[in-house]
Every structure is written in C-alpha cells, then in structure tokens.
C-alpha cells in the first residue's frame, strides 16, 4: 500500500504601504499604519474568488463523493486567518465546513509565517507557534499534531524544538542532499531527536505546482489519469504532495484546466487498489521511519537551491533580518502590545522574499509574486519601515 498525502499551504502576506525615508520618525504621536489594507483586501478578495472559495467547494464535493476516502491537510497561517476574519468570513466558514467532514487535518506553524526559527534563540519561534495553536484551537477546536515551518524551513535545531513542544511529526523538503540517494517516499527520523519527518516529493509536487501549464514541458498536458499512473508506480510508503493552495485558480488559472485535474484526481487514484489518501497525522500514525536524516544547515522548499538563500541570500536581506532581531531585543525590555504586534507582522517572510536578487529562472518567480518593481524597491520600503519602528521602540 502506498499512501498519497496531499497538503496545502494557505497564506497571504500583509503588504506594506509606500514608506519613504521622509516618513521615518514622523507621526510618532499617532499610530502609524505600515500595512496597505486596501491592497491586501483587494488581493485577498481576488484570490478568494479565484482560488479559496471554488477550490474549497471542489474539495468538499470530492470528500463527500468518495465518502471520506479522499483526505487532505491544510496549514493556514495566522495572518491568513486574520485576513479571513477581516475581509471575508465566508472563506473561513468554508474551511470549517471542510474540517467538519473529518477528512481534513490541520497543521501547525508559526502564526506570522516568519523566519523566527532562524533567530539566535528560539523563544520567539515558540511564542509564535503557541499563538497559532491558540488560534486554531479557538476557531477549529483542534490541536494539530504535525508541524510545518515557514516554507518548510528545517534543520536539526528546529526538529529538536518541535519535539520538545510535543508534536508527532514535521514536514520538510525531500532535498537530494539530505537524502543522499534515498527515496523521499518514506518517513525519516531526525538524527538528534525522536520525531517523524515527512518529506515532500518535489518532482511530483512541482509537476502540479509549476509545470502543470508549461507548454514546453514534455509531459504537457498533464491529465489526472496520467498523474495517477505515475503515483501508482511510486515505490515506498507515502508520496507527499505539498503545494501552495493558490496553485488552484491563482498560479494556474482556471483556463489551464487545473480544477478539472483536481476533480478527477481522487477517482483516478482510487482506481489503483494499492493507493489511498491519508492526512499528515494518519501518515505519522501508520508508518515508521526507515532511516535518519541529519540537517545541520537549514533547507526549505524554495527555488532550485532549496535552502534559506531566498530570504537571506544577499546583504540587503541580512541587514533587514538583523534589524528585525535588533528591534526584537529592544522590545523585550518594553511591554508594548501594539508595537510587539507590528513587529511580528513585519516578520512575515514575504517581506524578505521581495528583496531577493536571485537571477534568471528563480528571479522570474520572485517577480511574479512581488508587489514591488524590483528587489531594491522592496528593500528600501521595508528597511524604511523597520527604521521607523526602531525609533518608536526606542522612544
């Protein structure tokens, strides 16, 4: 038996207002809004119409049609849930409906989709996980058992922390260099702690996420029965397909046939008797680790490099990251909830992602997702905001 584990990342960043150097240090008397509510609302509503609502409906129908044999998992970031509450509660309701079927699992992560796991100590990381846990408990009355860090960033230190916090499993990228020729289609155990690691099958995941509508791809067009055949030929316990939820209807438009693909996928998969679907929690209960992985340097699912260079790859990103940590240590001495909240919203990894100067193929992907014309604009805006926040913290 080989299990298919489908998991979707659902996240929206809080995009910033235009903030020039002349704005730094002004308006300290009243509260400054760094975030572009109008733009965030516009984008959220657009994506909700194109992706969240229609895809949730498709999934709900599929779960009902296959009587719970079709199972999926989600991780909803804290900022995404806040957006739902603020702009479109109906989106959150549709996720609740899905969860109520019992065929859907929820995954823990940092509330702000941040890089707090890369800080010198993991206090802030832990706090943000607990914030997320509280939020999920309040909304879904559920305690997730599996953890997924921001963009699947993972190293030994993070694995140990997650074990300490009581999770049963963790998700990361099936990067070749940690597997060393082994298959990603099994569970593994971190070298330093007792935890189960689910590894993303990047080839099969990216077939849907990136290549689905690529004309020049030799397998184009990708159909559900072809894909199910590929899955049926996979060896191992579990095939982990982890993709951005926005793939459906947003990155891959409706016209590409992505929804048709999704609608037919469960039926085609279940035609093969040795295949079934599992949620992440079920995968961890059902299967045993077959080996150890040792990850001293952080990996992630981003870009070709599959490390953290997407967020911390150039001097600008490192300068912003250091400034973030700097502000954090100053905030510790104060107890100002409003500033703390602002600081945390600014930790969302997307702000650093927009400053990435990685060229060529990767750069194209970055340009598509960025609200800025180029990484330098992204840096100046973000850094100016950080400078302003720093001044307010010191005041």
């Amino acid at each position: 038996m080989t299990s298919i584990c489908l998991y979707f990342e659902v996240h929206q960043p809080m995009r910033l207002n235009h903030f020039s150097v002349f704005n730094i240090g002004t308006n300290h008397d009243r509260s400054v809004d760094y975030f572009n509510q109008k733009l965030n609302q516009e984008i959220f509503e657009k994506v909700a119409k194109k992706c969240y609502l229609p895809t949730n409906k498709v999934l709900l129908d599929l779960i009902n049609r296959y009587d719970g044999k079709f199972r999926v998992s989600f991780s909803l970031t804290g900022t995404f849930i806040e957006d739902c509450e603020l702009y479109m509660p109906s989106v959150l309701d549709s996720f609740k409906d899905l969860f109520a079927t019992g065929a859907v699992d929820l995954i823990e992560e940092t509330y702000y989709h941040s890089l707090s796991s890369m800080y010198d100590d993991l206090d802030e990381f832990e706090k943000q996980i607990k914030m997320h846990r509280k939020k999920i408990k309040r909304i879904f009355n559920y305690n997730p058992k599996i953890f997924r860090n921001t963009e699947t960033i993972y190293d030994n230190r993070i694995a140990r922390k997650i074990t300490e916090l009581g999770y049963k499993g963790i998700i990361t990228e099936g990067a070749d260099r940690i597997l060393g020729g082994r298959s990603s289609n099994y569970l593994y155990r971190p070298v330093n702690t007792d935890l189960k690691v689910l590894l993303r099958n990047y080839k099969l995941s990216d077939d849907i996420g990136f290549r689905f509508s690529t004309y020049s791809w030799s397998e184009f067009p990708l159909t559900a029965d072809k894909y199910a055949k590929w899955l049926s030929r996979c060896e191992g316990d579990i095939v982990n397909l982890f993709i951005d939820y926005e793939t459906f209807g947003e990155h891959q438009w409706t016209e590409t046939g992505i929804f048709e693909f999704l609608k037919h996928l469960p039926g085609e998969v279940l035609k093969h008797n040795h295949l079934d679907f599992v949620t992440v929690s079920e995968a961890v209960e059902r299967y045993k680790p077959v080996g150890e992985i040792d990850v001293p340097w952080a990996i992630s699912w981003a870009d070709e490099d599959r490390n953290v260079s997407t967020w911390l790859g150039n001097d600008m990103q490192i300068a912003c990251f250091n400034e973030l940590k700097n502000i954090g240590s100053k905030l510790k001495e104060k107890s100002n909830e409003e500033l703390l909240k602002t600081w945390r919203c600014l930790q969302t990894s997307d702000h650093l992602y927009y400053c990435s100067t990685k060229g060529l193929a990767d750069g194209d992907v970055h340009a598509y997702f960025s609200p800025y014309d180029n990484p330098y604009e992204g840096f100046m805006n973000y850094m100016n905001v950080l400078q302003d926040l720093k001044q307010r913290v010191v005041l």
């Binding site: 020039s20 150097v21 002349f22 150039n314 001097d315 600008m316 490192i318 300068a319 100067t357 014309d373 180029n374 330098y376 604009e377 840096f379 100046m380 850094m383 100016n384």
Partner: protein, 447 residues
Amino acid sequence: MKFEGKLREVELGLIFYPQMRILNGVMINMKIAMIGWEYPPFKAGGLATHCYGLTRSLSDKNVKVYFFMPKTKHTVNSDRPNLVIKEVGETEIFPYDRPEDKALAGNFFEEVHRYNQLVVAKVKAVAKAEGKFDFIHAHDWLTMEAATILKEDLGIPMVLTIHSTEYDRSGWLDPNQWFIDIERKGMEKADGIIAVSHFTKRVIVEKYGINPEVISVVHNAVYPVPEGKKQKIVLFLGRLTIQKGAEFFLKAARKVLDYEPDVRFVVAGVGDMLPRLIDQAVDLGISNRVIFTGRLTEDEVKHIYGISSVYIMPSVSEPFGITALEAISAGTPTIASKTAGVCETFNNCLKVDFWDSDEMASKIISLLRYESLRRTLTENGKQEIELFTWDNVAGKTIDVYNGMDIARLEKQLKEREKIYKWNQKLASRAYEPTLTLKTKKMRKSKC
C-alpha cells in the same frame, strides 16, 4: 522610355546590389562607409561613445570600416588596421546644436547642407580610390542627407542608427519641425534602422510613421570605468540641456541636504542651461554644496565616476543613457529615469520618474544610509554590466546588415519588380506622361 540603365532603376526604386558577396546566407568581407559626427577624445554625447565602441568591435570582427567625421582640433587615431578614420572638413555644427543658438547667425541650415555635400564628395572619392562600399551607415539626423544621396548614387543599402530624435532633444516641448522633416526623410529612405532602445523604436514608429519591421533594437554597451575611492558625492553628468533634467537633480539635492548635510552634489558637463542651473542652486540655498565642473576631460570623467557614491540620470527623455552603464561599471549605484532606454534592459539600478524629486531624494538618502543596498546594487550591477559589450553590439549590427540584405531586400526587390513590370506594361501602351506620376505615388505608398 526615356531613361535607361541605372538612372531608370533608381527612378523606379528598383536597385540591385550586384557587389554583394554572400556565403551561406551571410555576407563576408563587408566594407562599410560609416558617417559619424564625433569620436573620442572629443565627445558631446552617447553618439561618440557608440561610434567608438562599434567601429572598433566591427573591425575586430573582420568588417572593414571607413569612419567619416569632421576635422577637429584633436587628432583622432585608429588603433585597428581594419578601421580607417577619414576627416572630411571643418564645420561648426554639432548634433546637439539648435538653429537658434551658436554664432552661426542664420547660416545653420546652409551649413548643414554644405557639410553634407562635403561628406558626399569625400565618400565618393574614397570609393573611387579604394573600391566600392557595401553599406552606408549614418548616425542621427546630421548626415542623413549625405547618406541618402550616397545610397542612391552608389546604389548600396543605407543603415541608420537613431541615438535620439528631435522629440528627445527638445524634451518633448516644442520640437523643431525642420529636424523632424530631415529625420523622417532619412528614415523613410533607410533600408535598415537601428534604434538604441524599444523606447526609441516606438518613437520612430509612432512619430515618424516608419514600418516597425525595418527597425532593429540594439542596446548600447560600455567600456568599464575603474572604481575609485568613494566619497560622499552625488553625481550628475551630461549635457546641461532641457533633455537631461539637471534641474530635477538640484531639486532633489535640496531635499537630501535637509537630512544628509555633509553630502556634495556635482553637476558635470556644459550646455545652454548652465546659467539657469547656477541661479537655481543659489535660489535653493544650496550653492555651497553644489559643484559645477564645466567641461571635463575623459580622464576627469572617469575619475568623477569612480569617486562618486551615487549617480543620477534624471533625463526627461533618454533613448538609452550610456552614462548609467559607465557609472555602474565604476561601482557607483545609479538612479535613472524610469523611461530611459537603459531601464528596459538593465535590472540592477534604481528607477524613478524624473519629475518626482521627492522619490529621487528618498532613494539618494536610502543609498547613502543603507550600506547593504549600496553593496548589493554595486556587486550585482557589475556582474550585469559584463553582458553589455561592444562586441555584442557589433555582432547584432552585423546581423542587421545581413538580415537587411538577404531577407528583406529580396522581398523588397520582388515587390519593386512587380511595380517595374506593371510600369513597363503601362509604358508599352505609351502612357508615358502619367507614368512618372503614378510611379511616384506607388513608391510613396510602398515606403
């Protein structure tokens, strides 16, 4: 039929080019008569830099280039055996002159015509003495007249490179129709046009009504400038004309100085706006922080690029903007006008609307304050600069020569053959008087 032979063919727009030496679809041993205006060490703009880089790299690619230019005070030397520089005669005019300025006192138009006649005579003489040319290649409006005459008299194709149009030079304010007419006439006659950017190609199509198919875009390149010891200098370098937008530089300087008082602003270059800019600096109360250098030598230019911390190119209309590449090659982060041609192809620079001095000032301050920004821009910029070589430009220019010849001319010849046959038919029916008229009409609609 009254006219026979070549004259007749010219009249019908039917010109064959029997001297082409084509091997596997590509021309070999090309010989070009290039008509330029300025050439280092003297230069007033990107045209000189372009001609310098292009002619040297063309000759390295086995193209024999004869470069025709006015006699100047400086002697101009070629450092390539394949590159011959021919001085034509003296003239007082430069491509950036306006009829209303200079002490030409109303002789501007005559002077332009006189110089063009000199060029025609000189090129013909060289062709006679040293063998035929394969192409005429001219740059910008000033010698378009000569190029057109030579194309028809010598029966060879003509290529034009457009570095700027009258619309650019006037900053799109009150362009002079006389220049526009000259430019349009030249462009209509050209067999191939090279535009230095897509921006310029658009202008040529939309403002001059030229068929986009004959226009190729070849972006400029740069000979890297060495990096110096950086000082807190923000640099403007260019002609002080309405086109280059130095006044926006000064406006931004005013704002920057409120936040970063120890920065110096350098305005390098000369032009008719100089007195006004000096007044402006005084009015803004920043004359103690702004340095006007006047005309700089080539070494001085390199030095100032090298020691500046920020370079600003706030052009109102900039077909390309080689200076941006020069500054970046010298390790100087650059803020360029969004619409500048260079911005369509170069990623690692900052971009602003030229009129938005607030945003410009904000970016200058960011560059001065954030070392990480400076470093990232400099490192990535220098890497990207390596793609912008004159060798590339020469290669693409040769592609234009070749492509123009074989594919396009064949098509053109076929079309003209049709007209020719049609005319012959008419001629045989002895409609001689109306023939010329109709032919002219046809030609107009064809071009």
